[in-house]
């Protein structure tokens, strides 16, 4: 069958930020959906968002309440959300309480009542909240299944997109015949992890849609439900082909060590202990990009944006003007109880808003600490997804990470996240001639040459400045406690730059 012959299924906006991406671009028109989850998981709010996003005077929404929340209470509480538009009442949205019918009659009468109202209003959207409370006797499960089957058939023919809302526990998901009737099944869950509540939603099934599998974090705020796709909404975007373009730090000697700079679209890790100049290097990276017309984002977790910009000024770098010009955004992300996906969505929004080409995350330790404890377990996985998504569209990411200074080891990161990075620059202290000095080395550059030199550097009023030539008269520099080699006649040799390279 050609594309032309296929029936076109319209996709309706869910009204829930982030959810359209998760369900594959919107919910199929005329679909019969079940929103399931425990009490308080946000089912009613999600349904309301869909209703307010899609109801119109010509094709209104009918919201049937059963034995749960009364319509008055529902209106009272739901109007607290910003999506609630009283102007839609009553022409576009009507609430109908079925409790009397449910209490005094059988499911057949309930179906009859719904049928009557639907035929009268010709609605585009029908919600039954909560359909499970219709069954008051355990032996009525079969009746409920039959009721749902008939309701689904009827509403489909009336061209209504339907939601049944039901309270279900986790273990009821399997082998429930009711779910087979539905075109779509959205499962909302919330769990307590330490002192935080973690909310996740899952599209268990959605006929005819390319939904994003897996558990997606969501949050309920004054704006209602907001979902954060595991793929951060970037699944539809094609990955850019690998670029040969190099992005400089503006530190000539370092750029030489990197064979001209970091490759565009790479993820760079700058690792070092406290005071080694990781943030200075990151600031220079961003400032250099801006000077070449490349907008940048700096996500800071350990200091406020003003302090960050002031420190840059002390290095002779102006971060104020590009902020005013919309070329730079310094994000301060340190709220409590933030989910990792929500934090990353903030970064992504900022990146997309100004078309950023360079992103600095300063630092990964601060990032992790800003998250609520329940989300820290997801940190590495989410970070991987974000880095993969952003680098895929050509954004170059520089992350700083603090490592414990050891004089017996040379760790790149305490997070075991080296696999996330294409390039690693290691900064560390060394003890030389009774002084605590600093050295820098490029550990790896994926797919490119780089110098293997160990170079000494200082942090001056101009930022990171690499000193002299490579150090050749010491052994064991990376141990932090080097010893003078026997080659005392040859203190320094010319830097190799990137002529001795390694791949991968």
């Amino acid at each position: 069958m050609s594309t032309q012959d296929k029936v076109k299924i319209n996709k309706l906006p869910t009204g829930v930020p982030g959810l359209d991406e998760i369900v594959g671009g919107g919910l199929p028109e005329f679909s019969f959906n079940i929103i399931a989850g425990a009490p308080g998981s946000g089912k009613t709010t999600l349904a309301h968002q869909f209703v307010f996003a899609n109801a119109s005077p010509e094709r209104p929404a009918l919201y049937f309440t059963v034995l749960g929340e009364s319509a008055i209470k529902m209106l009272r509480y739901q109007q607290q959300y910003s999506f609630f538009d009283p102007a839609k009442l009553p022409e576009s949205i009507r609430f109908i309480n079925l409790s009397q019918v449910v209490l005094t009659k059988d499911l057949g009468a309930v179906l009859e009542e719904i049928t009557k109202e639907v035929e009268k209003a010709n609605p585009a959207v029908v919600v039954v909240d909560s359909f499970r409370t219709m069954v008051r006797k355990p032996e009525s499960d079969m009746d409920l299944q039959s009721f749902i089957q008939r309701l689904a058939l009827f509403l489909a023919s009336w061209q209504a997109t339907t939601f049944l809302i039901g309270e279900y526990a986790e273990d009821e998901l399997r082998d429930n015949p009711i779910f087979t009737v539905a075109d779509g099944l959205l499962w909302l869950r919330q769990t307590a992890e330490r002192n935080s509540i973690v909310r996740k939603l899952q599209v268990i099934k959605l006929r005819g849609q390319d939904s994003v599998p897996g558990l997606h974090t969501f949050r309920i705020t004054d704006a209602g439900v907001q979902a954060f796709s595991r793929t951060f909404g970037l699944t539809a975007r094609k990955r850019n082909p690998p670029s040969d373009r190099r992005l400089c730090f503006g530190i000539p000697e370092l750029d030489k060590m990197l064979d001209g700079g970091v490759r565009e679209g790479d993820s760079v890790l700058v690792a070092g202990s406290s005071g080694t100049g990781k943030s200075v290097l990151a600031t220079q990276f961003i400032a250099e990009g801006i000077s070449h017309g490349e907008p940048g984002i700096v996500a800071v977790f350990e200091e406020r944006p003003e302090a960050y910009a002031e420190r840059a000024t002390s290095l002779g770098l102006d971060l104020e003007t590009p902020q005013k010009d919309g070329k730079l955004t310094i994000l301060y992300l340190r709220p409590l109880d933030l989910s990792v996906d929500e934090t990353m969505q903030s970064i992504l929004d900022a990146v997309q808003k100004i078309g950023a080409k360079r992103l600095v995350i300063d630092s990964l330790a601060g990032f992790e600490m800003a998250l609520s404890p329940g989300f820290r377990a997801d940190f590495r996985e989410s970070l991987y997804r974000m880095i993969f998504a952003l680098t895929g569209i050509g954004v170059t990411i520089l992350s700083t990470v603090e490592v414990d200074e050891s004089f017996t080891e040379f760790p790149f990161s305490t997070y075991s996240i080296s696999f996330l990075t294409d390039d690693i620059i290691r900064l560390r202290y060394v003890s030389i001639d009774g002084q605590l000095r600093k050295i820098m080395v490029v550990i790896k550059m994926r797919g490119g040459n780089h110098a293997k030199d160990i170079r000494e550097y200082e942090i001056t009023s101009k930022g990171v400045v690499i000193l002299g030539k490579r150090l050749t008269n010491f052994q064991g520099l990376i141990s932090g406690v080097p010893v003078h080699s026997d080659r005392s006649d040859l203190k320094e040799e010319p830097a190799q730059e990137s002529r001795i390279g390694s791949k991968g």
């Binding site: 309440t65 009364s70 319509a71 008055i72 009272r76 109007q79 102007a87 009507r94 309480n97």
Partner: protein, 145 residues
């Protein structure tokens, strides 16, 4: 609320252009509110609010004692109201059956405002009386709802 109730009753009297008894004007206001709220939130929602409003109003206006709320939210027994001693003198000619009706409507409006808020209440009123101007409280020059 009393001012607004008075205004709605006066509107219904003038709209009818007849010297109908209070019960008739009160019933028309009540019915319009019933239709309006039932249309948005269902009959059961209106019936529960109306029952509460009537209970409150009865303590203030004993003339309402014979009045009942039916299962569909409609008002029964209002036609049997007798004039009250505390009747508003200005309304005496227009509303010979006293202010029990005003009290009931005022209580109902008060509950609507309390439970649904100003925006939705105004929406319901505008829906019921499309030709009347109901300004919100924040309107500096408008009449207060």
């Amino acid at each position: 609320m009393r001012d607004l109730a008075h205004r709605l009753l006066a509107y219904e009297v003038s709209a009818g252009k007849t010297a109908e008894p209070t019960a008739s004007a009160t019933l028309r206001v009540y019915e319009k509110l019933r239709q309006s709220l039932s249309g948005v939130a269902g009959v059961a929602a209106f019936e529960s609010l109306a029952f509460r409003a009537l209970t409150q109003a009865k303590s203030e206006a004993p003339s309402l004692w014979p009045v009942q709320i039916a299962g569909d939210g409609s008002l029964q027994g209002l036609g049997e109201l007798k004039p009250q001693i505390d009747m508003d003198k200005d309304l005496a000619d227009k509303f010979p059956c006293g202010d029990g009706g005003i009290v009931l409507i005022a209580r109902l409006l008060g509950l609507l405002l309390m439970f649904l808020g100003e925006a939705i209440t105004l929406r319901l009123l505008r829906n019921a009386w499309p030709r009347e101007a109901f300004d919100d409280r924040n309107s500096e020059h408008g009449r207060k709802a």
